[in-house]
């Protein structure tokens, strides 16, 4: 089936993020998704190219097939069509057991090595702003084979060092000293991978597994590599750029806006004409 891509005026950045994220999933994978855009992205994948993906919601539904988008992972809608509905012990045990292929997460800050912060802005001991805290972000990111972060791209969010490492990237702190080491060194037999992509409102970023460094993979329509490098506080590797991020297809947009999120709870519609 040929893909009919939408034109730039037919979609917004949230659509693009959602579709780019959705394409990170392969069929039959076990996927752990949080509330919000990650949930829309994963359900889009389920309704397009990955009908047999197995969806885990942290609050305790396993291999769920909600006919309608849940408002959060604790929503009654999560349970519909699931293989098993239970609780957090099940969800986190499955993750630690190594059964999760992909985690979809968000973040407030990210550094060049994929460390993500969702805890506070500024010094932890005297923060400018206390955020939500970790939630399951570090847990899913510790155990999944791959994790994908969906983020708003602002220069203040792409930093050399995050204020607080909430969720482990490729180069993490070895305690008690706090020296940076490759995560492989710390995780032992639980090492299965790490962050594989950051999908921001500017482009798609990937990581070199050996060096752990982020590089720019594709630019969203209208953004150039140099421009995106300027949007980071660290020296972004743009040597491996691979063209433009594929736009949403019309079918994907239809599913997002007619099936998944008709009420524009997570993704606003772009008004045509």
């Amino acid at each position: 089936m040929e893909r009919e891509y939408a034109k730039p005026e037919e979609y917004g950045l949230a659509d693009l993020l959602c579709c780019a994220a959705s394409r990170e999933v392969a069929d039959n994978e076990v996927v752990f998704a949080g509330t919000g855009l990650p949930m829309v992205a994963i359900m889009l994948a389920q309704k397009t190219h990955a009908p047999n993906l197995k969806l885990i919601f942290e609050a305790g539904t396993l291999d769920g097939r909600p006919p309608e988008l849940p408002t959060s992972v604790g929503d009654a809608r999560c349970e519909m069509g699931a293989s098993r509905s239970s609780g957090l012990y099940d969800a986190f045990s499955i993750a630690q057991r190594g059964m999760v292929d992909l985690g979809f997460l968000g973040g407030a800050e990210v550094d060049e090595y994929g460390n993500v912060n969702t805890t506070c802005i500024g010094d932890y001991l005297a923060p400018e702003l206390r955020l939500t805290g970790s939630g399951g972000n570090p847990d899913i990111n510790s155990f999944a084979r791959r994790t994908v972060f969906i983020m708003v791209h602002e220069k203040r969010r792409f930093v050399p060092n995050v204020s607080y490492i909430t969720s482990p990237g490729w180069r993490v702190k070895k305690w008690p000293g706090g020296d940076f080491v490759h995560r492989r060194e710390l995780y032992g037999s639980a090492y299965r991978g790490g962050p594989t992509a950051v999908i921001s409102t500017a482009g798609v970023f990937r990581f070199d597994e050996q060096s752990g460094r982020m590089y720019l993979d594709t630019c969203h329509a209208g953004k150039g590599p140099e421009e995106i490098r300027e949007m980071c506080q660290f020296d972004l590797d743009i040597s491996r750029v691979n063209g433009e991020t594929k736009p949403p297809t019309r079918e994907e947009l239809r599913i997002i806006h007619e099936v998944l999120d008709p009420d524009e709870i997570f993704i606003p519609k772009v008004k045509k004409g």
Binding site: T35, F57, E58, A59, G60, T61, T71, S72, V73, G74, D75, A76, C78, E79, M80, S85, S86, G87, L88, Y89, F92, A95, Q96, T119, Y124, L125, P127, L129, R130, L131, T132, G133, S134, G135, G136, N137, P138, D139, S142, F143, Y164, I165, T166, S167, P168, V172, K173, K174, W175, R183, L186, Y187, G188, S189, A190, Y191, D263, E264, I265, F266
Partner: protein, 324 residues
């Protein structure tokens, strides 16, 4: 049964003394025992040590009201109805509360260990993060890890290596020590058997981890009815000390099969309580001077009927998503 477990909401709140460590049923904005949270605020409870697998509006209300000295958990917010916990954030900035951060799985495993009678749990989650930063052991920094407080372990973490299969670094997290768990559930039997519907979150672990467990249920049903299908019950009688019948006890949070989250209420709370004055104003409007029935009357029938779940769907098809 020789003795009844039934008590009133007021009595339930009185079980939780100043300085108690406390936890709740539910998950973020679902199945939180709000009727009791309100009653604790009315009774001006002080010095609570909240230990939660995850926080939510109940945390924000208790923290905003000044009931909480220590919060050990991993997350607070209102999901799509409020991005973060503004009351907690304000108290953190004022250093008016101690926050001890763990990861979500760590908190869950801490409860699982306690409920299974284990001294601690072994995990490999969150290695290399600042959650494990020894400088960020806030109870330690406050001098509270000297063994004198029965709720507080001597260490936030210990690290060790797997001696059995060379699996690498292991994180040891202490079992939680919880005085009281308050559950907000669909059904409880007269003797305390609890039947949960939908996801059960971390409720069985919370109920068993606590020394005293209070169950607030939409309805108290004949014990005999629940015992006809024992494999559908989540919490057995001897995990439960007190039961309270209180419909809509979870409002503004939601309950599978019974009612949806009141998104508009949470949005209003989130919007109005960035400042202490805002919180106090909100509390005067919605908490003080009311009892549970007064609260429901104030909410009004149209609102509550809109939230009521369709029992085939288990959620309300009438309640607009996103609290719009």
């Amino acid at each position: 049964m020789s003795t009844s477990k039934r008590i009133t909401l007021q009595q339930a709140a009185e079980v939780i003394g100043n300085g108690s460590s406390l936890t709740f049923s539910g998950f973020t904005i679902w199945r939180r025992p709000f009727a009791l949270v309100y009653e604790l605020i009315r009774q001006k409870r002080k010095g609570l040590h909240l230990i939660e697998v995850n926080g939510g509006p109940q945390t924000e209300f208790l923290v905003g009201a000044g009931c909480v000295d220590i919060w050990e958990s991993c997350w607070v917010g209102h999901e799509l109805y409020g991005k973060y916990g503004a009351n907690l954030s304000r108290k953190v900035a004022e250093k008016a509360i101690i926050v001890e951060d763990y990861s979500h799985a760590e908190m869950l495993f801490r409860f699982a260990a306690a409920s299974s009678g284990a001294a601690y749990a072994v995990t490999q989650t969150s290695l290399g993060t600042d959650i494990h930063n020894p400088e960020y052991d806030m109870l330690g920094r406050a001098g509270l890890r000297d063994g004198s407080n029965p709720h507080i372990a001597r260490h936030k973490y210990r690290f060790t290596d797997d001696p059995f299969f060379d699996a690498g670094a292991q994180v040891l997290v202490p079992a939680v020590k919880v005085d009281v768990a308050v559950m907000c559930v669909q059904q409880v039997g007269e003797e305390g058997t609890v039947r949960l519907s939908g996801q059960y979150y971390s409720d069985p672990e919370a109920a068993r981890a606590a020394d005293i467990t209070i169950v607030i249920a939409e309805e108290i049903v004949p014990e005999e009815y629940l015992r006809r299908e024992a494999d559908r019950n989540a919490i057995p009688t001897f995990d439960v000390d007190y039961i309270v019948e209180c419909p809509f006890a979870g409002h503004p949070t939601g309950m599978f099969g019974r009612y949806d989250v009141d998104g508009a209420f949470l949005k209003d709370f989130y919007g109005r309580t960035r400042t202490q004055e805002g919180f106090d104003d909100f509390a005067r409007e919605w908490i003080f001077g009311l009892d549970h029935h007064g609260y429901l009357e104030k909410l009004g029938w149209p609102r509550m009927m809109r939230l009521k779940a369709n029992t085939a769907l288990n959620y309300s098809p009438r309640e607009p998503k996103g609290g719009k």
